[in-house]
């Protein structure tokens, strides 16, 4: 275990508290930079989605995790970013311009959503954001002169300095990675400065924040705007990666997926947002794998344990039917969410911290270190 000896206030301000961080994050960055030249294009494609989901996850974390304002409307912000990009691109606006414009417009709309949200708490805010998302979805489907309605819109490849960047190229991956890294660094900067602390203060006690001079309304709107803007940037990348967008892609289901990203990753940590994104993106390939390979493998196992050829084939076909059932994805989602809430409320990152501590303290680790306190909250209506 490492004990830090602090000699300067700087020690508490810097992002990497000690040299160990440089080594591990340097290694991680190196791996991420070589990845496109080593890994298959399918894996790279998944990695791009991880970057986009993680960016949205961080955005949602700012709003929900740090400012304590729930949102089930982030798919709408993603849609606004994506459609702004698609619309502007149609008129020959260059990539950097429409990228920024999409972020700014989404941020502005986020702020506009933030204003009515000021007076709303808890579930009232949740339903307000859901309503907002439905209205956006409907506008996208009906405002045909701009959005092309339910037909959807095509998006050409990114054009950087006159060169077209294909959505499967390493350059596009680097672009997404850069956006993610910048988002994370920006968020970390925010968290170590007055604005970030004001967010956390609002989350924990609005009354106290106000009495300390925090303009609660202003900071809530700021939080909405920042979160929406980042989601808007992610929306541009999302549109380019899919190269086709239509209203039914940006449903409540997607908003819930974003919430799952921060829940599974571990609320209140940026590491968690990234881990959660990896998890969500991996579910699909996992199901494909289940469908394609598992029947064979299970039949193989059955055969090794002495089942006859006939029985093994039988097992294989049964597993295959099961794996290709329609609702399997939803059921697995549901089970995963419930299991995480029941058994690992700190999420994947919490699990990682526990494992790390276990080895650091070996053999002194106590399970009770992370024991969850039941709080039996009194009625939240009396807020």
């Amino acid at each position: 275990m490492r004990f830090l000896f602090k000699t300067d206030y700087e020690d508490d301000i810097r992002l990497f508290p000690h040299s160990g961080y440089f080594v591990s994050y340097g290694l991680l960055l190196a791996v991420l930079l070589i990845a496109p030249y080593v890994l298959s294009s399918y894996v790279m494609s998944q990695l791009v989605f991880v970057c986009i989901y993680a960016t949205v996850g961080v955005a949602l974390l700012i709003l929900t995790g740090f400012t304590g304002q729930a949102s089930l409307g982030h798919a709408a912000f993603l849609a606004i970013g994506a459609y702004t990009a698609a619309y502007l691109q149609k008129y020959g606006v260059p990539f950097p311009v429409y990228f920024l414009a999409a972020g700014l417009l989404t941020g502005l709309i986020g702020a506009l959503v933030g204003f009515p949200a000021l007076r709303l708490q808890g579930i009232y805010l949740v339903i307000a954001t859901i309503s907002f998302a439905f209205i956006v979805e409907e506008i996208l489907a009906r405002w045909e002169s701009v959005t092309n309605g339910n037909e959807g819109m095509r998006i050409k490849a990114v054009s950087l300095f006159g060169v077209a960047v294909s959505r499967d190229s390493p350059t596009f991956y680097f672009l997404c990675l850069a956006v993610l890294v910048l988002t994370i660094v920006g968020t970390l900067n925010l968290l170590r400065s007055p604005t970030g602390r004001a967010f956390v203060a609002i989350r924990d006690s609005e009354t106290a924040a106000r009495s300390m001079g925090v303009n609660v309304a202003l900071y809530k709107v700021k939080s909405f705007a920042i979160s929406a803007a980042i989601t808007g940037f992610a929306g541009v990348l999302f549109a380019h990666k899919l190269s086709f967008i239509s209203p039914e892609m940006f449903t409540l289901q997607l908003s819930i997926e974003f919430i799952i990203v921060i829940l599974i990753g571990g609320a209140f940590s940026l590491h968690g947002a990234v881990l959660g994104a990896i998890f969500i993106v991996m579910i699909d390939p996992f199901l494909t794998y289940l469908k394609d390979d598992m029947p064979g493998i299970i039949a193989g196992i059955a055969a090794t344990f002495g089942a006859g050829t006939q029985a093994a084939a039988n097992v294989q076909s049964k597993v295959a039917t099961f794996a290709s059932l329609n609702g399997l994805k939803g059921a697995i989602y549901g089970i995963i969410i419930v299991l995480f809430v029941l058994f690992e409320p700190l999420g994947l990152y919490g699990r990682w911290l526990k494992i790390k501590l276990f080895f650091q303290l070996f053999p002194l680790y106590k399970r009770a270190t992370f024991k969850r306190q039941k709080i039996y909250v009194k009625s939240e209506r009396n807020r």
């Binding site: 301000i13 925010l190 170590r192 602390r197 106000r210 925090v214």
Partner: protein
Amino acid sequence: MSYFRAESLSLHFGGLKAVDAVSFAVEKGEILSIIGPNGAGKSSIFNLISRIYRPTSGRIFFEDQDITEQPPYDIARLGIARTFQNIELFENASVLSNLLVGRHRHSTTQLWQELLFLPSVRAGEKVHRRRVEQVIEFLDLEPYRDKLISGLPYGVRKVIELARALCSEPKLILLDEPSSGLNVEETGDMSFWIRDLRSELGVTVLMVEHDMSLVNRVSDRVIALNYGRVLAMGSPAEVQQHPDVVAAYLGA
């Protein structure tokens, strides 16, 4: 002109007169205590000053400025800080960041500067930290600096609330029952700190308190309230002997 002045302040909830035409003044550098039985309207007066409630009528002046219509967050900017009866700390943050929120009214950096963490932000953070460390030293909070609030005992939280208020470098501090839930020893510490607040930091103190020993030890003047009205005002000894106050407490 008084330093801080409340003029016929009233707060009515329907027919209930929580505060009824209360007037008082606080002189600069004074320690003034408000006492009274439960439900006398003591905390309501604080909530009126910090604008959690809007007064039904009456005006509040601070440094000759009418602050009755100021938004709540501006009260802190004017230099009035407060603590809460039942502790309102930021539970899931460290002691240090709680105290740094106290510095909020002194932060001057813009959002975009913070996103990039420009040198100006870094320099500002160091200044804030230095101020916070001074308060930590003043209140002996060194062992708790990096602890989360949610894991700390009640007595320590009470001190941290005081510390957070002090971090904002207030001119006037409102202490809402600073000794509630503290043991005798901790109450003793609190009384020393309250006196030091005035002598070392030059802060004016307005305090709501039940513990008469604490009130006697620190206050210059005392106001006794009952049913939202002022019963008596004067030195601690005078007020305690006032027949109306005795009647209010003993129910005679």
